[in-house]
């Protein structure tokens, strides 16, 4: 309400964040946090055994990771900031206020990490040729890089855990209470071995490309990296269980929908079975890589690679969804409105405190009832406009009008073809948070609930996508503009 409303009506705002953030997680977990210790260990082992084949393989894997992490990895990291600031500036603003020094520290650590990976990669060949103390320095660079990669994740995971359960911060508002939230250590304990296991699977796939088919070294490398993956697998399971046990009970209730959307909520058991079979398949293939690497074709390693990427990406979806209706647990709802502000908003209305209005386009005005007198048409349009503003301020962070997770789709599923009158939709919206706990309560007053209903009734007849402020601009509500939604807006402009 203090910011223009950015909106993507086709894929939805959530997809913008998800596509960038999940890609970032896959890269930073699999190619940085998990991979750097593995590469450093391979280099160390090669130096210890005086075997240049390990050194060469480690360098080739590092170079591939260096290319991806410093381009797509870095861009998606910044992309998360951009997308979150656009979609939910209120939540990121709150988080920055709480975690300013944590993020500042993380920025320093990240800059150090970037410098280290540059130095580690670019000095490899020359310092290896020099040997002796220079090679030892290079090894230390690798382990330092591994450490700093992990530290960036360690800082960010504190913030992610806070978003789900702020713990004692809700009462004492202290920085350390926020950092040491109930989910921090369990989640960090889960992500650390997960990153290592991901890196192992990715490295096994890369080994098949960087070594020749009948080279015995390929078998040694696959065996060693397979062992690395297998060594971390039990920790992923145990820490995963610890993490799951720490999730607030109310949020676990969202698991069915989070796993596979509302339409497939009853697939929960089936989905979990698919996940277990996938994990089993990964273990069997890794087992083959250790015991019978000569039997492992390149195509076989595509299975655990795709599987681990899918499992990790889907875990991120689940983690984000089960947190609903909150974006910051017990503090701020996913619509960007604070829990403590609800009393005020439900009294005054959301529009009374909204700086911007989101003007209807000509396409959005289509679908009004035929045969209306000009005054009546204008009055209806004014109510539709206000209803749209209510929608944009309270619903659009998660819902589109016509696209993914559209309100039209949900209303059609619930009410079918009958007219979506304000009484019908209002009766549902007022109580939806009881039936669907992942939905926040409606934050507006009674008049705004009706205005929203008028807008939704109009949407039933209108198929135009809803533009965001980025393409359609905003109207700044000056002193002359109406601020309070009331029933006197039947004819003419509202007071």
């Amino acid at each position: 309400m203090d910011f223009p409303v950015f909106h993507l009506d086709f894929l939805g705002n959530r997809w913008l964040i998800a596509s960038i953030a999940i890609l970032h997680v896959l890269i930073n977990h699999g190619l940085a946090v998990g991979m750097m210790p593995l590469v450093a260990a391979m280099e160390w082992y090669g130096a210890k055994k005086q075997d240049p084949r390990w050194d060469r393989l480690a360098y080739e894997i590092l170079f591939a990771c260096f290319l991806v992490t410093t381009t797509v990895g870095a861009l998606t990291g910044v992309g998360i900031w951009l997308s979150v600031s656009l979609v939910n500036p209120y939540s990121i603003a709150s988080l920055i206020r709480v975690f300013f020094w944590a993020w500042f520290t993380e920025w320093l650590v990240f800059i150090t990490e970037v410098c280290l990976i540059l130095a580690y990669t670019l000095t490899w060949k020359e310092w290896t040729v020099r040997g002796g103390v220079w090679k030892r320095r290079h090894l230390r660079l690798g382990f330092a890089l591994a450490f700093f990669s992990w530290v960036t994740m360690a800082i960010i995971v504190a913030i992610l855990g806070f978003m789900m359960d702020p713990g004692n911060w809700l009462s004492d508002r202290s920085f350390w209470s926020g950092v040491l939230n109930p989910l921090y250590i369990p989640q960090l304990a889960f992500r650390t071995p997960l990153s290592a296991a991901m890196a192992g699977i990715i490295a096994m796939a890369l080994i098949l490309f960087f070594t020749r088919k009948h080279d015995p070294f390929r078998h040694d490398a696959l065996r060693a990296v397979g062992l690395w993956t297998l060594a971390f697998a039990p920790f992923v399971v145990v820490a995963g269980w610890w993490y799951y046990s720490s999730v607030p009970e109310a949020m676990k209730g969202n698991l069915g929908v989070s796993l596979a959307t509302l339409q497939f909520a009853d697939w929960q058991d089936r989905f979990l079975k698919i996940a277990v079979v996938t994990v089993g398949t990964i273990l069997v293939i890794v087992q083959l890589a250790i015991s019978r690497p000569n039997l492992l074709p390149k195509a076989a390693l595509a299975i655990p690679l795709v599987a681990i990427l899918w499992l990790t990406g889907h875990f991120e979806r689940v983690r984000e969804f089960i947190r609903k209706p909150y974006v910051i647990g017990e503090y701020m709802y996913a619509n960007g409105l604070r829990v403590d502000d609800y009393t005020l908003l439900q009294r005054d209305g959301v529009l009374a405190h909204a700086i911007y209005s989101n003007p209807l386009t000509e396409a959005e005005k289509e679908g009004l009832p035929e045969g209306l007198a000009p005054d009546a048409r204008n009055a209806l349009l004014a109510r539709v406009q206000k209803g749209k503003d209510v929608f944009m301020d309270t619903c659009s962070r998660c819902h589109t009008g016509q696209g993914v997770n559209s309100v039209k789709g949900h209303l059609a599923r619930m009410f079918g073809d009958q007219p979506w009158t304000p009484d019908l939709t209002g009766g549902y919206i007022e109580n939806m948070h009881y039936a669907q706990p992942y939905m926040p309560p409606f934050p507006g007053n009674k008049e705004e609930l009706e205005l929203l209903g008028v807008y939704l009734a109009h949407l039933q007849r209108n198929t135009a996508p809803i533009p965001g402020a980025q393409s359609n601009g905003v109207v700044v509500k000056g002193a002359a503009a109406s601020r309070i939604a009331d029933r006197t807006s039947q004819g003419g402009a509202a007071r």
């Binding site: 062992l227 060594a231 079975k273 089993g280 273990l283 069997v284 087992q287 250790i290």
Partner: protein
Amino acid sequence: MMNRIARWLGARPHRATVTNALMLSALLGMTNSVVLYALMGSIALAGSAANFGYWAAGRSLDANPYRVALTWLPGLLATLLAAAALFLVTQYPAGTLEYGLGAILFAAELAMLVLVGADLARDRAAGEAGTAD
């Protein structure tokens, strides 16, 4: 044909055992008897795991941590997955997807466990014969 099979089986000592393990698993899968599957499957698993454990323990005595992990982890994983598979086939009725997956996994992991034990036995024999490890 039979001579060729016999020669193939005889070429490596563990092939006969692995083939037996696979045939036992297939037979158990076809019996449609939960009790028999659980009993015979457990005996076969325990026997193979004990064989693996014996050879792995002997090899671990003077090995570095990497070698110890390389020795133990494959067999432990095979034992764990075979036990999980045995659980699946005893919990779900024959003909279901879970039963089928469990039966396949049990056969594969039992065979893998036999293979791992055989590898360790062969390495020990090679070591005792003075062949470099």
